[in-house]
């Protein structure tokens, strides 16, 4: 086979594809690497952690997370509600940012029912749960609520869950956490 035409053809195709791959991939890889080095030197050099987070996740989101961290002690549990779309992973990012605080996931905001949620909390031995954090779309600041006011807000709007800018949405527990997105 090695001496055959088919063998030669296979060898030529393999070498050609390898060459094309390198011609396509190497300049891109070099450009990306140079850009990364330039970013480090020009943008990120000397930057504080808060500034880096604000640059990547948005100023309002970062401030809201810091406010919630101040309001919630590190060992205090909270109820996590996903106010965005599940495929955006908002609840994951907020849970990560608030860890090590333990979270109880309530589900999608638009599907929540106040009475059922209250029963679930009572039945699951979570009586010390006092706060609710609602995560919204990426970059939109999460909000901290008192459990009672959150459940009250939900109960007042049966079938129509509150959204961040709708009238009647539960009032946030901290002003800073609601920065830029007050009801």
């Amino acid at each position: 086979m090695r001496g055959s035409v088919v063998g030669l053809l296979l060898d030529v195709v393999a070498v050609a594809l390898f060459g094309i791959y390198l011609v396509a991939a190497v300049p891109l890889a070099i450009r990306r690497a140079v850009n990364m080095l330039r970013t480090e030197a020009q943008v990120a050099a000397g930057e504080s952690l808060t500034d880096a987070r604000a640059r990547c996740f948005g100023d309002s989101y970062t401030r809201a997370i810091d406010e919630i961290r101040k309001a919630l002690p590190a060992d205090r549990a909270y109820l996590l509600v996903d106010g965005g779309r599940p495929q955006d992973g908002d609840a994951y990012w907020v849970r990560y940012d608030l860890a090590p605080r333990p979270a109880v996931f309530a589900g999608q905001l638009e599907l929540l029912d106040a009475a059922r949620l209250r029963r679930t909390i009572e039945g699951a031995n979570l009586s010390d749960l006092r706060q609710v954090v609602v995560a919204y779309a990426p970059g939109v600041p999460p909000r901290l609520y008192d459990l009672a006011s959150f459940l009250g807000g939900l109960a007042r709007r049966p079938g129509a869950a509150p959204t961040p800018d709708q009238p009647g949405a539960p009032r946030p527990a901290t002003a800073g956490a609601a920065a830029g997105h007050g009801p």
Binding site: R2, D11, T39, Y96, A99, P100
Partner: protein, 512 residues
């Protein structure tokens, strides 16, 4: 210089230095040139330091705080140093020419350059080095912003750090919302070790340096394995090809992310290189066992992959004995058995630790593959689900912005150089490379939503298989190169001398 860069290097050094000292215990590793030795050292360091902390925390309740971390770092470092000094003294006492050996050694950069073997390999290494430096700079510039890292591994690391134990209450209490709580925690423990050792802010992206360092490690391990079987030129070209695959750097699972896939690829690949390499020794078996134990503690797939590597090592040691016996005995059976035992022992210990640790954790927010497997979904799902996930596998592998055409090129090279796979070692590497995709295939066969899971995980299985895959590719590339040389020679030489001039595959495989 931005102080974040030295901080990142210090984070890497927390594992690289004790690991490098540990390589002193393994003759095959300590004889390797410094960059390759450092790559194995980094892997051994992560496996030894984070693995020991994992064990001490779970078995004895040792708090994951600076005293325990620095002690765990110092013990292998000092042990390696003492062993190295004692060995050198012993060599001197034996009257050998240590100085001459030192001169031949690989500590001088000029020696590494000469060792590379020419301008083409040098150019490949320079491009790969630039990509790795860029990746480290990116890691030190930006916070963690990947998907699974924040969803699972990094959040777990925060729970573990706050609790000071791998048995954190949040992970063990079923009331709390934790995704994949039974995922092995070697890399999160490594994160905790770095953050605690340097008293870093929880938001610090110092930990990203640990993951970025796995990229050069992967390239060096692949180079090491490829060079031993395919020569310097093919190995350098394969490293260049791997360094420029965008997914290896920027993919969800690559060096950009804090997923455990790239570390798993390194542990599995390095274990295989030591286990399946030419002229294996018992000490290599211990090192391979430590690395495969690291793989088992890194990700769920690590344990089956470790067992596959062990089976391939077994096959290499015993399987071809009858055939090899006709020529020469490569390894006495007792030595082969000891070597396999040396690999199996650390892997078994890691498995025992993992099972014990998991036993206290109620599983939740997880696919629960063992349950799906027991419910008998594998058949006929392994056939019927293909229609759902099969096309997606091709779509994922042929995404230009992730693979830049790598999977157009690789099958063509493997096909053209297929004669190289007559060699049993090359065949074993191909089987090893098929391991991670086979696990993926099995998972998609039993999952209720195979399309979704295939779309987000298939490329990671390809990444996990990268080291044996790249070495197999180097085998094939060297074979294609040999075809061209043969054709050229056969055109130049008289027809009568053609047959005698054809070098065998074995001669090519011996190329260094």
């Amino acid at each position: 210089m931005d102080p974040k860069l030295p901080a990142g290097l210090a984070a890497i050094g927390l594992f690289a230095l004790p690991g490098f000292a540990l390589t002193e215990l393994f003759p095959a590793l300590r004889r390797r040139p410094l960059p390759r030795r450092a790559a194995y050292g980094y892997l051994l360091g992560v496996a030894a330091v984070a693995g020991t902390l994992y064990f001490l925390s779970h078995a004895f309740g040792v708090p994951l705080r600076p005293p325990a971390i620095w002690t765990t770092v110092a013990v292998p470092a000092v042990a390696g140093l003492v062993f190295g000094l004692a060995r050198r003294r012993g060599v001197r006492a034996a009257g050998r020419q240590v100085r001459a050996a030192g001169r031949r050694g690989s500590w001088r950069p000029a020696a590494w350059l000469a060792d590379l073997g020419g301008p083409l390999p040098l150019a490949c290494v320079l491009v790969a080095a630039l990509v790795c430096c860029g990746m480290l700079a990116e890691a030190m510039s930006n916070p963690i912003r990947d998907w699974d890292g924040r969803m699972t591994w990094d959040t777990q690391a925060r729970y573990v750090r706050a609790a000071g134990t791998v048995d954190a209450r949040v992970i063990r209490d079923p009331r709390w919302y934790v995704t994949h709580p039974q995922y092995p925690l070697l890399l999160p423990v490594a994160q905790v070790a770095v953050l605690e050792a340097f008293d870093a802010d929880p938001d610090s992206h110092l930990v990203r340096a640990i993951y970025a360092a796995f990229l050069p490690v992967l390239l060096l391990v692949a180079y090491d394995g490829a060079r031993r079987v395919a020569g310097r030129g093919a190995a350098a070209l394969i490293v260049l090809a791997a360094a420029t695959v965008p997914f290896f750097t920027f993919g969800e699972g690559g060096a950009f992310s804090t997923y455990s896939d790239l570390p798993l690829a390194c542990f599995y690949g390095a274990g295989l290189v030591l286990l399946l390499g030419p002229r294996p020794r018992i000490a290599d078996g211990v090192a391979a066992g430590l690395l495969l134990g690291g793989a088992a503690l890194t990700k769920n797939e690590g344990l089956p992959l470790g067992l596959l590597a062990l089976a391939l090592g077994w096959r290499g040691a015993f399987g071809n004995r009858q055939r090899a016996g006709r020529r020469r005995a490569t390894m006495p059976p007792a030595v082969a058995a000891r070597r396999i035992a040396a690999v199996a022992a650390p892997l078994l210990l890691a498995t025992a630790l993992l099972l014990s640790w998991r036993s206290g954790i109620p599983n939740r927010q997880d696919e629960a593959y063992p349950d799906l497997l027991q419910s008998g979904r594998l058949w006929p799902g392994i056939v019927t689900n293909v229609a759902v996930f099969g096309p997606l596998l091709f779509k994922q592998a042929f995404r230009m912005h992730h693979w830049a055409g790598f999977w157009w090129m690789a099958p063509a090279v493997l096909m053209a150089g297929r004669h190289a796979f007559r060699h049993p070692r090359a065949r074993r590497l191909l089987i090893a490379a098929a391991g991670p995709p086979a696990i993926g295939w099995a998972a998609y066969s039993i999952h209720s939503n195979p399309g979704l899971i295939a779309a987000v995980t298939w490329e990671r299985f390809l990444l996990q298989a990268s080291v044996p895959m790249l070495i197999a590719l180097a085998y094939a590339l060297a074979e294609v190169d040999r075809h061209f040389r043969q054709r050229r020679r056969s055109r130049q030489e008289p027809a009568a001398s053609r047959g005698a001039a054809v070098p065998g595959l074995r001669a090519g495989l011996r190329q260094r």
